[in-house]
């Protein structure tokens, strides 16, 4: 069974709850767990080593020795330190004073540069900038075509430079063309390359020297393992990058690379990519990343997200229902309607501590069509059924299927996922769950 770091640490410190004192040996034991958690989250080996030493110094200090809840105290020290290390970030992009301001995206193959180029363009366009994009990837088949198509479908202007296999000259001409057309920002999508491919790295340097980008952003895949630091360090050494964009954070990778990159190149993580859609780019939040790396869910985001899209009163009602385990199919339907505005239920639940990795949650990731179907199914139930799903037997299922134009299997599926959801909520409403909720709302 999956155990969160907090649970593990609580176990270590359980023995001394009564006495309320903490000795060095226990701190060491706790730090071993923390070390494992960080490594499991793909934080770089050396970064972890330094980090643990740093925390040890703080933890074995007075502050902790006198504390009453040592488990939480240690986690708090770790968490605060993580936030501190990854923080001080800003999603601010410097445009400089040249028009257009060239922004260069660089990174390994397949890290997500092209999609990010469009996302960033749309993000900056929201700030009233006139933004164009261009691709100087002459290597990967159909790479330029990909950007052109994405630009077309999302309404971002793509500068297409004719003639050539020379990314340096193409970059210069793209800047010229963007200026001529009155664009204020030009985002350059470069070909993915290995940090050890000297010729290809040299090419980036030449592009940089030719167009003097206002910013060079390194695009990194959140799933990257231990090598993240060597890769980023090499790009930084050669190009002096200005910041990082982490992609694919909508998956279940713990994203330790974020901390590693920060520790090694000391450049801010400016944005994170959280989906394939062109608006799935978010500002980086060190607190969320810290919770994620520690496997503690992300209650802060949950609350924020809910606040942004859901009527606050309803959200509070839901929270009450979750706590009291009174979540009915009617509430489920209500929730589904909200979700369409909010992103997936799974994503939402993933933010709740301890639920981040529960597999059953898989069944809750729904697409639009599914949502319509489920709503139809719940609509076809009687109110009595909605308030007490236990009475929905085979006969009733057949009727509901007919009424909603679906199949009995569909009805079964809806009931199953509802049951799973209830089960999870039940967990949340236990003492542990409540504690976790409380802890995270007012950090610890």
């Amino acid at each position: 069974m999956f155990e969160t770091l907090t649970e593990k640490l609580d176990n270590i410190f359980k023995k001394l709850r009564g006495r309320g004192r903490l000795d060095e040996e226990q701190v060491n034991e706790a730090l071993r767990e923390i070390r494992m958690a960080l490594l499991e989250a793909d934080v770089n080996f050396k970064v972890v080593k330094d980090f643990i030493e740093d925390v040890r110094k703080k933890a074995v200090g007075q502050e902790i020795l006198d504390s009453i809840a040592p488990g939480q105290q240690v986690v708090k020290i770790v968490y605060d330190r993580l936030v501190e290390l990854m923080g001080g970030t800003t999603s601010f992009i410097r445009f400089g004073n040249r028009i257009p301001a060239p922004i260069m995206l660089v990174g390994l193959q397949g890290s997500g540069k092209t999609t990010t180029a469009i996302k960033l363009a749309l993000h900056l366009a929201k700030q009233q900038k006139r933004v164009a994009v261009t691709s100087v990837d002459v290597y990967r088949p159909a790479a330029r075509e990909q950007l052109i198509q994405l630009g077309r479908s999302s309404g971002v202007y793509v500068v297409e430079v004719e003639g050539g296999q020379d990314p340096v000259g193409m970059s210069e001409r793209a800047v010229f063309e963007a200026r001529r057309r009155g664009y204020e920002v030009l985002i350059l999508d470069t070909a993915g390359r290995l940090h050890i491919d000297n010729d290809m790295m040299e090419e980036l340097k030449r592009i940089k020297d030719a167009i003097h980008p206002a910013e060079i952003l390194f695009v990194a895949d959140a799933m990257t393992g231990q090598e993240a630091v060597n890769v980023a360090a090499r790009f930084d050494e050669l190009l002096a990058i200005d910041g990082v964009i982490m992609t694919k954070l909508d998956g279940d990778a713990r994203g330790g690379a974020a901390l590693s990159l920060r520790a090694v190149i000391d450049k801010p993580i400016k944005f994170v990519g959280v989906g394939e859609k062109t608006d799935a780019l978010e500002v980086f939040h060190p607190e969320r990343m810290a919770s994620r790396i520690l496997g503690m869910g992300d209650i802060v985001s949950l609350v924020e997200k809910a606040q942004a899209h859901v009527d606050e009163k309803k959200a509070r009602e839901l929270e009450q229902k979750i706590r009291k385990q009174e979540f009915t199919l009617e509430d489920y339907r209500e929730q589904l309607l909200q979700i369409r505005k909010m992103g997936s239920l799974r994503e939402l639940l993933g933010m709740i501590p301890g639920f981040g990795r529960i597999k059953a949650m898989g069944n809750l990731d729904l697409d639009e069509r599914e949502l319509v179907k489920i709503t139809a199914i719940i609509d076809s139930m009687t109110r009595k059924e909605r308030l007490n799903y236990h009475i929905i037997d085979g006969e009733r299922r057949r009727r509901i299927a007919k009424g909603s134009g679906t199949t009995v299997q569909d009805v079964n599926r809806v009931l199953r996922s509802y049951e799973e959801l209830r089960k999870m909520m039940k967990k949340l409403s236990t003492k542990e769950g409540k504690k976790a909720l409380k802890r995270h709302k007012f950090p610890f």
């Binding site: 494992m36 499991e40 075509e145």
Partner: protein, 308 residues
Amino acid sequence: MNFLKGDLIGKFKKGLAKTREILFTDLDELIFGQKEIDEKSFEELEEALIRADIGPSFTEGILKQLKDKKQTGPLSELIKIRMKEILSPRECPLIIPDHIVPFVVMVVGVNGTGKTTTIGKLAYGFKEQGLSVLLVAADTFRAAAIEQLIEWGNRAKAPVIRQKANADPAAVVFDGLNSALASHTRVVLIDTAGRLHTKVNLMEELKKIKRVISKVVPGAPHEVLLVMDATTGQNGLAQAKMFHEAIGVTGIALTKLDGTAKGGILVRIAYELSIPIRFIGVGEDIDDLKPFSAEDFVEALFTKPGES
């Protein structure tokens, strides 16, 4: 399979040699010194394994096994033997039997791991073996994915069955397989859109594609090839598990081993899941796909940067 095994080690070593200036560390040095097992060398070994993305808990487990066995001898040798024990049973080349026509390969994986590129390389490899190959562009989602596959089709001289962008991938597959049946094509390679293993609706879509495949060609797909990126850390295990659970993966290809990442997560996957490991990708050229060899993989895992 006659993907030329050629200079596999050479390729690796060339990549590694390039890293000399970049990531040389004294610790790597120590690991390869010949030492009896003691606490200190255990620590060094632990570091080397973790840095190869083998994972902390798995590393701990393996080291504990070694310790318990109380074997003596050069530590690096013992651990290599253990790794090979784990990986060797997974070394099963992909063989196209004469009696299965068409032999249908469905290629899956998360975004950007190298699926399309691997298909291009596979097409080339099979053609080199004298087999007819058909590519199916069932990634109708990502912009210009179809054009990318067409370009690989041109390079490998293999026809590509396609529909327009955003078409139903299952429909494209249906078309492709029927066309393969009509033309008695030996091998069909199906490209699918990248997807995160956590997105249930997208995994459902894969199941649907698979169902359509087996409807048109009973017994197919004969291979469900999961393409993974060697740069991936511990999340690789979740990827393998969840793709496997959803559609039953029958083979793994590990790409981008020409970089500096060692792809150690593969050891953990090999230990926990019995999925054959078929290929490794070592570059972006059409002939940069090699059959997986446990022996070579483990050697490369332990090759000190700069050693060649």
